[in-house]
């Protein structure tokens, strides 16, 4: 309205305000285009957004304690944890009432495994107590009966854990993910021999960067060659570049084992030509070197393809122009060609980095102990320990770390300076 003169409202012939008419006309268009992308939108919502929201939720969700032991949770609020005394009979009575129901519904063991993540021994405590609960005297007193069932019910640590994890939401998973824990003195780092996740995060980021850089160093000349060779030979080279895609991941990884292991092809060759002695065979697998080599190989095409497609669009006349203006080969490349290939580097680097940060099969197979990633631990917690809360917290941290890195990247390179071709 600002660009019409004061008080004057443009209208259509039948007196409708022009803006309303325009909006109406455009709405149809919008709805139609919305309908077109609706399948994709629904797909993305269901397969991408929903799981991420679910993951974020799981990383703090803790309603199981309150749902399984509602009376105990309420009764425990009265208990003074600093008193040095275990709770009184009322709490035990509430616990009996809750557990009687829980055993009936067979949910007590589930709670046991949940609390076992926080304190070793809770799993068997609940399983054992669950078996005893039917034989307990309904009339009480309960404290003695519980202590008889398992002396852990008389320990402060047990009750502290129960109390600490009674709220519906917990920061416990995130603390664990940061290698921290909540103690009587507040939040502090776990002892040295239990810290693992921060180390793995750091290593994952570091190795991903190393892998990205080595992909770039190896991939750039190949992409350059691809873009400048005549079509016939560049097609052949392209097939070679794509070859790794056609073999299964496991086969490729196993091939690297055959090549890199101490009794492997490369070591045999080096010993044979006398470069190293038989006793000093190189360790190139089951460590970081193995992870870097195998993952660089696997991810190389993801670097080469965007680089190639960007380089293909850089006309050779730019380099000619630079040379005609007096630049030698290196200056022409560095000042004129290279800056124009940066969008390809950006796309390739982001692609490789993001793919490598989430990889876990290859590190698991060739990484030994020093070459595994945070994803390996996430996978372990998803499929083995079933500690999905911790896995979700680790996943969330990884997501945040990637987003932070992305923002930094955006600030330095500029996200609009990324293109796939």
């Amino acid at each position: 309205m600002s660009d019409t003169t004061a008080g004057e409202v443009l209208t259509t012939k039948d007196g409708q305000p022009l803006k309303v008419a325009l909006a109406k006309a455009l709405r149809r268009e919008k709805l139609r285009s919305l309908a077109l992308i609706a399948p994709l939108l629904i797909f993305v919502l269901l397969t991408f957004v929903a799981p991420i929201v679910d993951m974020l939720f799981r990383s703090v969700e803790n309603s199981i304690v309150e749902e399984t032991l509602p009376r105990t949770v309420v009764a425990l609020r009265e208990w003074d944890a600093d008193s040095g005394q275990v709770p009184d009979e009322a709490v035990y009575a509430a616990l009996y009432a809750d557990l009687a129901v829980a055993v009936e519904e067979k949910t007590h063991t589930r709670l046991g495994s949940r609390l076992n993540y926080e304190e070793g021994g809770m799993s068997s405590l609940f399983r054992k107590t669950g078996r005893r609960i039917k034989r307990m005297d309904e009339a009480g007193p309960f404290k003695e009966q519980f202590l008889e069932a398992d002396r852990k019910w008389g320990e402060l640590a047990t009750w502290n854990v129960l109390r600490q994890f009674s709220p519906r939401f917990t920061d416990g998973y995130f603390l664990s993910a940061f290698d921290a824990q909540r103690t009587a003195d507040g939040i502090e780092m776990k002892p040295d021999n239990e810290r693992i996740y921060m180390l793995l995060f750091g290593r994952t980021l570091f190795l991903s960067i190393v892998i990205t850089v080595s992909c770039l160093v190896l991939g750039y000349p190949i992409a350059f060659l691809l873009a400048s060779l005549p079509l016939r030979s560049s097609n052949l080279l392209m097939i070679l570049v794509l070859l790794p895609f056609w073999t299964s991941l496991l086969v490729r990884t196993s091939a690297w084992k055959v090549l890199l292991q101490q009794q492997g092809v490369i070591n045999d060759f080096l010993v044979w030509i006398g470069l190293i002695s038989d006793a000093n065979r190189l360790v190139m697998i089951n460590n970081q070197t193995g992870t870097i080599i195998a993952m660089t190989h696997i991810l190389l095409p993801f670097m080469i393809l965007p680089l190639y497609s960007v380089m293909k669009t850089i006309s050779p006349t730019y380099v000619r122009a630079a040379k005609s203006l007096g630049a030698n080969d290196w200056t022409a490349f560095w000042r004129v060609y290279f800056p124009q290939s940066v969008p390809g580097i950006g796309a390739g680097a982001v692609l490789v980095f993001i793919l490598s940060i989430g990889y876990y099969i290859t590190p698991e197979l060739v990484g030994g102990t020093s070459g595994i990633f945070i994803s390996n631990r996430i996978a372990y917690h998803i499929s083995s320990s079933l500690n999905w809360g911790l896995a979700a917290a680790l996943g969330t941290l990884l997501l945040v770390a990637v987003m932070v890195l992305f923002t930094v990247y955006d600030k330095i390179v500029g996200i609009d300076n990324v293109k796939l071709g």
């Binding site: 730019y318 122009a321 005609s324 203006l325 630049a327 200056t331 124009q340």
Partner: protein, 364 residues
């Protein structure tokens, strides 16, 4: 030239082959004096661009030597030749601003910062883009980009500037305007310019001399007017301007002239350019604007023809006639108002002078 500070270029027996089977450039000998604006004109594939690229240093000569100011440059890499070049699509560096583009050749030559700025500004003003230094090439129009490209090729004061179809991407009006601007810049600076184009108008407008290329050979090297008035062979006659072709056989030779009998028996007088003896097949070349309807008996050649088609073009009328069995015979009549009326289907007499009609090598 007012102030010649251009370089002399010499091609000496230069040959070029890409595949070792066919020659793209066949034994090229060409002398370009300092300060000249020389255009290499020819259809695509005629070898003109290859000649330019050899001079720039992007293509090695297969045989022969190229000299720049009497210095052989076959083994000098392109960046040491000090030749400015304007490319077909300008090749402005998209990641640099206009000013950075212009400063680039100065930077690589180690020119001081202050000097750079001054030269860049001067070059920008020369092409009337003084205020555009901070723009990116993509933010400029085609004509502006073209000017930047010219400025960049000149900013480091080269003695020789090469231009490879620099106006090909512009529309007609802009192209004509740029032709004049480039010509003026050349006149003011006095550098040697080697210009490649397939557009004959461009070549005729701008050049001191034009080298017409075909099939890897220079067909004719002369000033624009000579090229038009005195084509040395049928190819040049066909390629430059509009041209009527009449095929026949030499039946008499007399000094510089000859008598030619056309295939339908008509006999015409023509200047003898590259026919030598009686009995030679020849193609007569005749410019459409040299044919007159107002005939008189003193004219060397008088022929009857039937008017097939009239096209009104404002400043002139284009008449297509059937003359001596050739129904593509074109006559351009100046529109003078008092002109007598021409009608399609009418048979009229047309005439022309002997020296407007050239007997050239025979073409089919």
């Amino acid at each position: 030239m007012a102030n010649t500070r251009g370089a002399a270029v010499k091609y000496d027996g230069v040959q070029k082959s890409y595949d070792g089977e066919a020659l793209v450039v066949k034994n090229l000998n060409l002398d370009i004096p300092p300060g000249e604006f020389l255009t290499m004109l020819g259809p695509s594939g005629s070898g003109k661009t290859t000649c330019l690229m050899m001079l720039a240093g992007f293509e090695p000569a297969t045989h022969g030597e190229i000299f720049l100011n009497d210095r052989p440059i076959n083994n000098v890499p392109p960046h040491k030749r000090g030749i400015g070049m304007v490319f077909q699509n300008y090749a402005l560096f998209p990641h640099m601003t206009v000013a950075e583009n212009l400063a680039f050749p100065l930077q690589v030559r180690g020119v001081g910062k202050a000097d750079q700025q001054q030269k860049v500004q001067r070059a920008l003003e020369m092409v009337e883009l003084g205020a555009f230094g901070n723009r990116r090439p993509a933010q400029l129009s085609g004509g502006q980009q073209q000017r930047v490209a010219v400025a960049r090729a000149l900013v480091f004061d080269p003695e020789l500037v090469l231009m490879d179809e620099p106006l090909g991407a512009l529309d007609k009006q802009l192209r004509e305007q740029m032709q004049y601007e480039i010509k003026h810049i050349h006149e003011n600076l006095g550098v040697t310019v080697v210009y490649v184009t397939h557009d004959q108008t461009e070549a005729l407008t701008m050049s001191d001399r034009v080298a017409v290329f075909n099939d890897g050979v220079i067909q004719q090297l002369s000033t624009p007017d000579d090229l038009y008035e005195d084509p040395q062979n049928s190819f040049v006659a066909q390629f430059i301007g509009e041209n009527n072709k009449l095929n026949g056989k030499v039946i008499g030779v007399q000094g510089d002239g000859c008598l030619v009998e056309l295939d339908d028996g008509t006999q015409l007088k023509a200047d003898r350019v590259n026919v030598s003896a009686i009995g030679d097949r020849t193609t007569l070349s005749l410019r459409p604007e040299r044919v007159e309807f107002d005939t008189n008996t003193s004219m060397d050649n008088l022929v009857n023809g039937r008017i097939e088609e009239l096209i009104y073009l404002g400043d002139h009328i284009r008449v297509r006639m059937n003359v001596a069995g050739n129904d593509e015979f074109i006559v351009k009549v100046r529109n003078r108002g008092e002109k007598r009326k021409l009608n399609v289907g009418e048979t009229v007499q047309v005439g022309w002078a002997q020296n407007d009609c050239k007997a050239l090598d025979a073409v089919a």
